[in-house]
Subunit: 321 residues, 4 copies
């Protein structure tokens, strides 16, 4: 790993509403205030922002300056295909006019990414899926998705199009549900298409995130990371390592020895917690994991792994805490 450092989603500093507390558990803050807070957190050097809000072609130069002023970099410009009700029925998989808009937005997001020096445009097709049995024609919708991703990918081959898979939410079923589907699509569509591992999404679909790192790395498809934690069944977006300590540590181990060169992006949703504290806690936890990982004698561990001797492996890891 040659990580570019820690980044955070700017949304981490938002008001964090849910469907019950609809105004958010906290006050909304301005972009500038968010940037100030982010800049003040030790270890944070980058941030992820959505197109078209809060970042777009019109304010790109202003945002660039605001970032430079605070010594921050843009890790990725991610297209927002989920927050507007016009995407209720899907964005890239919708047969209607709205799909054109989604395509347009995705392409522009890539260009803005490039303009601000971000290598990645993260695409999470949150509304592309379905809720009920018999609701959609799966094959027709799949074709729309593949065509859309191809069109987006070929728009700007210099930008990495990274697909963020997720099992569900906001739909009861997302089409790009797991690492297998995402990797399949990335291989089918082209070299500038890869995959974002959202640690929590990986837990949701009952994957071993460390296994996914190894798999995607083998095919050169690990493009971006969203780090967080949860209680498996839902995307709780909690502070990193607060639930799954061993598996987070194992994830960091495989990441450390991978070819990943991107950012360590925090994607937490601290409904009630202070976002700066949640970032600090997460960075501390990841750094703690990195410290332990650096103490691991890889050869020794791999000898143990050849025997699939889980208890010796875990005992060895535990001895390094």
């Amino acid at each position: 790993m040659k990580s570019k450092g820690f980044a955070t989603g700017v949304w981490v500093f938002g008001s964090c509403p849910d469907r019950f507390c609809t105004k958010g558990y906290k006050k909304e803050v301005s972009l500038e205030e968010s940037l100030d807070k982010i800049a003040s957190i030790e270890g944070l050097q980058g941030l992820m922002m959505h197109y078209p809000a809060p970042l777009n072609e019109d304010n790109a130069s202003y945002v660039k300056k605001e970032l430079e002023k605070r010594d921050l970099k843009l890790a990725s410009c991610d297209v927002d295909l989920f927050s507007s009700p016009e995407f209720s029925w899907g964005a890239l998989m919708c047969e209607k006019e709205v799909r054109k808009k989604a395509l347009e937005m995705s392409k522009k997001a890539m260009d803005v990414a490039e303009h601000l020096g971000a290598e990645v445009m993260n695409l999470w097709p949150g509304q592309d899926g379905f809720d009920y049995p018999f609701q959609i024609n799966y094959q027709a919708q799949w074709d729309l998705l593949v065509d859309a991703l191809s069109e987006i990918a070929s728009h700007n081959p210099g930008v990495k199009l990274s697909l963020e898979y997720k099992l569900r939410e906001p739909r009861t079923h997302s089409t790009i549900a797991n690492a297998g589907i995402a990797l399949f699509l990335a291989q089918e569509i082209g070299p500038n298409v890869g995959v974002t591992i959202d640690l929590g999404h990986s837990f949701n679909v009952k994957e071993s995130p460390a296994n996914v790192v190894a798999l995607l790395d083998k095919y050169g498809k690990l493009f971006a990371l969203h780090l967080n934690d949860n209680f498996r069944d839902w995307d709780d977006d909690m502070a990193v390592g607060s639930v799954h300590f061993w598996e987070t540590l194992e994830f960091i181990y495989y990441l450390y020895f991978s070819n990943y060169e991107g950012w360590l992006g925090l994607d937490i949703f601290p409904y009630r917690e202070d976002p700066a504290e949640a970032c600090r806690f997460s960075i501390e936890m990841i750094n703690y994991c990195l410290e332990i990982v650096q103490k691991i004698d890889k050869k020794k561990l791999e000898e143990i792994q050849k025997e699939a001797d889980a208890l010796s492996a875990l005992r060895y890891i535990k001895s390094l805490l």
Copy 2:
């Protein structure tokens, strides 16, 4: 069962936001418009409303008139202890000033229920729980909860205090998580304390909802119903019977032969669907289940059940579709 008929949560007709589409997938409508829509749906005769919004002591007489005008009844007045950010850290289980407010609101909700002729005050302590390991002192918080429920229950013994259990959301863990805990509390606290089965919450905690009906009915503790469906792992609040057909039918079977005398309350959250259609679909499905249930020869089924002969039981039920 001597059901009072179908009721709907007035919130079913709201804008249905989630944490991504924060303004809601639909337009907000006025209370009066909601009432008009509700009154227009065949089979709907009652509705469930939250205190202090949209129903409270100040507008109770106005709401009463608006209901009467449309031949609607109030099924329950439910205290809202979850939508205000002041309850972020809990309402009844919070050690702070806010707990007093929650107690006050709960009592007033009971009184408003009584004033409008609703037998039930449904209490869903949505924020009472926790998110992270080590976050709260469980025993101290439990005592606060028990004391609060006792105080509320004894405030107005003429109103049924119905506890709505749920596994999680908006917290990662709710304290009143399943029917067992709710029944235990209801038995401990008093005769006017019972339990609301939210069909989807029951699926979430991997219960058999029909089993829960039978259990609560035995102890005289089935006070209210919230009907909906989901894909087990999350409270999707979908139209009734759209996923779990057999188990919904079995639930209706046990309900039909229970002593339940309350409303058949719809608690769906139709993010993208038309709320009136979602209600109609749900009522049709429940009525279809009731038709089938009435065709069941109870003695015959119970003979089969004595042998635990599942396939014969299901084959018999299927023959009645």
Copy 3:
């Protein structure tokens, strides 16, 4: 679909043990008795058997005769890489001597399949995975798996090698965990490699099985079916349609309009139920679904699906019961 008819796993007629009732809930019966029972079930014309027991190169001719005697066909010869303790630590992914044996067995299973006229060799790598964090070296093990599958597939290109994915059990994590991973492997390895959908495994990993049918069919990779049902979280191997009625119906709908030309294989594990009854119930349920599906006006449904109008779609389907 041009299905070859219904088949059952011969194991369905076994003693059905679990880890608590280790001798099985029923008596073990001979192969011949199982065949007699299977032949007596209306609608059953084929069966699936494992190599090397009860089917292998030594008894292949005898089994062939016994099948012909009863007018039964071999649907598939499936390699058993899971029941012997020598595969405890994996079969195809194990670095040891045992892997050679697994490869040899897999190849022979293909040949026996061909010899008895079965088009498919189903491969479920049940022991290939891991249990604990840090237990195995994921990349090394993945390479072993891919190499093994390539070697097996190229051994006999005239036989379809069908990969049966599963989330977990008997390991806490299987490597080929979902349809995405299986499809990716099938595409990478070769034209005679495809995928088996086990309906219950698909529910376990929170897929929509109907969606998976559509996806695999598009890429010509739907090779075999294992039909059953469960309560989502575990591979209960229950009678078909006994839990998920709508989704089973939807699965049959997409299957009916697919290019699938294989068998409708029953893979139930009737711990306590009579296996013949469980097969009969499953066949009745599938036939009932097929009847309904044939009544569906595909154009009409697809018009509704273009609007993603779930409630109208479900109401239409329900009207055909």
Copy 4:
């Protein structure tokens, strides 16, 4: 806590079969060999055994001597109502002759427990539940269960009857599914009826095990412990703390400050691992947790908990590793 020390289920040293590897992943060993192994493990002083095998009224004196010889104590004598196929359809909830046998066995297990100086008879009604919708008459079966438990409890009030709840397996639904139901039953039935927390069962039903400790302790109903770990969705019976580090630590924290006076019982099922190593690992992990817990400044933590300040709480705990 005034724990009596570590105990293990003698079954931990069995052959560990599952439904696929039906003979077990290991060789069966004699009781005496198991006892030798158990006695050789540092920290292990007790063991849990089932009635009528390997412990019963006929061999009780022999077993007593064998235990004394090795300086081991019987932690509990647990009735086995699950391994014989005669209990396929339930034991205490079965309306047939078999129920009488189950009652008889349960009573004798209590007497044998008393005879060997074990305070607890652990009762896990593994077969008491159901598999399919419509399979049983819930109310009739519930009454049978309550009556049976009352009869057993009153047979020998000097022995603690501890109910071990579990969500599922071997049935798809167990009747005593969670801590709430178990606590309710314990309160209803009598003072010598309490609850066993199996750590993994608690994870399966998505409880916070630490919360359950606090709850049961408050009502004086925490009678026994089964320690292990899993990946939430299934009872994997893995070595303690190998998946859920923080929650296991939190569980130990609440346990340490509880009034629990029983054994720390290991209930792992090491299919592939050496059972002695799995016990050693688990004991090391629990001792590590106990060390950390002893370093916790309870007042300080409770101050943090008053603010529900999860991140500060976790950061403080992490600082003690």
